[in-house]
Symmetry: D2
Subunit: 214 residues, 4 copies
């Protein structure tokens, strides 16, 4: 299972969360990555944790003011990027363009989507993985694996039918139990945010989260 | 073969093109539809031609100022709608939402896309058809079937692999020869615009276009 | 006072509201306009009511699929257009472009904005009028003139400082009392929607609304 | 005169340009700032040069994946931000929101716009400065001060009429002569990009640029 922690624009200290994630990853052998603000990539990568961008723009080098260039994210230490998060929905053509930009910069890609049909569409764009996140569950603390298990199994099936693309499960994940349930439904990882980033003790939150895998 | 004539925001008389299309459709038995501005749907539908919208919004009845409600397009006479034209690219989630809105209002859907990968993604959203239109060929007069035949055959294959979704061929189509070439590559229709809408004699242009089918 | 009724994408019968508005306007001499879906402009204008578009695109004749061409709205009977409604926020450059497009097609313009600072910005683009609509009050039934009278007087002052642009007052307007309060705060009109469009008896709602003006 | 160098997504080494700018600023006393990719803010700020963001999002701390949080840009060393560059046009309401976000994080703001009318609108949103950049001149090497001097003087007048907001002059600036001409037209600074970022010798380019000020 791959654990991807999205720091969004939270008021957390990105370095504190990154250090906690690096330690738990080292202690447990579980793959854990942290996705901070682009302006924080450098300092997060310096902790040694696997570092992801939250977004890259569908552009190559050139005249693109205010873009997030995949190459710049990679130079700052990112090895992967989220795309099309429900808080940052992209045009279909731009998801395609951003996945290609990420490939060019050797970044792994996880494309988010809302339902099995959109998961199939996202998978058709050939990212490294997709993540299903019903928007109505984001930040609720109710795990999708419990509120709507069919959406996870249907997404796994949809992604498999298009081309064997692994599925991450997002929305409402915070505990080891949630992670285990996601795995039982066929997910190969989890995407989470407030459960770790807003925890009083991010390290303890991560340890609990990955406990079923240890 | 289905012939879909997109009037865009051209300075043509939409009723004149619609009447020409209605006559040619009647005389030849070929299915021909015309997609005018939303504000012209009523008068185009009144000619008896098959009438399409150029876009509908991913919304239901409600507080959506400036939207194009699928039900309103249908009431004005539309029986189908284009979506995600390269001049009107949509977010992935909104293409899904617009296809669902169109279904609710009994409108057929054709989702446009730029390349075989995006065609597969579009087909995964379960529209009635998809249309491949390489943006670099739009309005050039160079038919995609001649400039880049592989993009058509690859799109047909991509759409078939996802779920047997018919493919229309757009970009640069203007003559009967172009239409025939598109059909030979596996397209079940053509999407065209300036070749008819800007023709001195739209009826003659349509007659030439459909001549291989008669 | 100018009364502009925005039908949004409501499930109301646009012709019924338009007929009611036409009658009340005739009976009372108050200027009342109705802004339906683009696809309904024709039939609304046929009632004889002053007809407005909810939006026009910042484009001229040309290759703009899915746009709302100002000229097409005008041909269908519109004599004015809303722009930048809070449900359809536009880029600054596109508001400028849409006001220019509307001028070209002889459409009056009302540019909406959220607060006095944005009202000044909107007024600087030289529309015929601006409308202040705090998004948090839209559809609440609480009139802005009561919930936040300062936002109206500050908007009137802001618009005047930029160039004598009249201000309409939106959000929460439904009764004659609301209209009167808006006028007392310096507004030269009201923008309303659900109060008329969702009324059981649109004519009675309009009669009540304009009663202080008769 | 303030010299603001926008590195866009150019393939230049941001640290090399930053070091050159820091040296020229120190040697000449001219105020020079560099605006790199968000992911490069840290390393550019480490050179000691005045560092600007190319954009910040209209958001506060919270659930905003893929945003550029003003506070994160400030923590990485930015002291100012461009907004609404013609390559990154924003909604009117979002320019307002981004200027407010920047103020909250103690970032100076320069809002770009295309023409005197939009300059007045941008100035009404109360940024620290505005920049006029006719899109048709960007990257051409033809300075706006030469191609269209009226647009600069009209912008200076428009910004002054709204509230004494200083105007920077962008588009086509690369030499000391261009900078001097901009100053003669009333500009209090210049916004430039390729002239420095793509120069073989960025330091020599900057030295030539600021030579009239020394």
């Amino acid at each position: 299972m791959f654990v991807l922690v999205n720091l969004k624009a939270y008021p957390c200290d990105p370095v504190e969360v990154a250090e906690a994630a690096a330690e738990v990853a080292k202690e447990t052998g579980v793959r854990i990555a942290v996705a901070p603000q682009a302006a924080h990539l450098d300092r997060v990568a310096a902790t040694g944790v696997e570092t992801w961008a939250q977004h890259v723009s569908p552009v190559a080098h050139g005249s693109h003011t205010g873009s997030t260039l995949a190459e710049a994210a990679a130079e700052a230490g990112a090895v992967g990027t989220l795309l099309n998060h429900s808080e940052n929905r992209l045009k279909l053509a731009d998801i395609d363009g951003s996945v290609r930009a990420a490939e060019r910069a050797d970044l792994e890609t996880v494309v988010c989507a809302n339902n099995p049909r959109q998961i199939a569409a996202a998978a058709a764009l050939e990212p490294d993985a997709v993540a299903v996140e019903p928007p109505e569950l984001i930040g609720t603390g109710t795990p999708v694996s419990q509120a709507d298990p069919d959406i996870v199994t249907d997404s796994v099936e949809a992604a498999a039918s298009v081309g064997d693309v692994p599925v991450l499960c997002g929305a409402g994940i915070s505990t080891g139990e949630d992670l285990e349930a996601a795995g039982d439904l066929g997910a190969e990882g989890v995407l989470l945010a407030s459960g770790v980033a807003k925890a009083d003790d991010p390290k303890a939150a991560l340890e609990d989260l990955v406990s079923p895998l240890v």
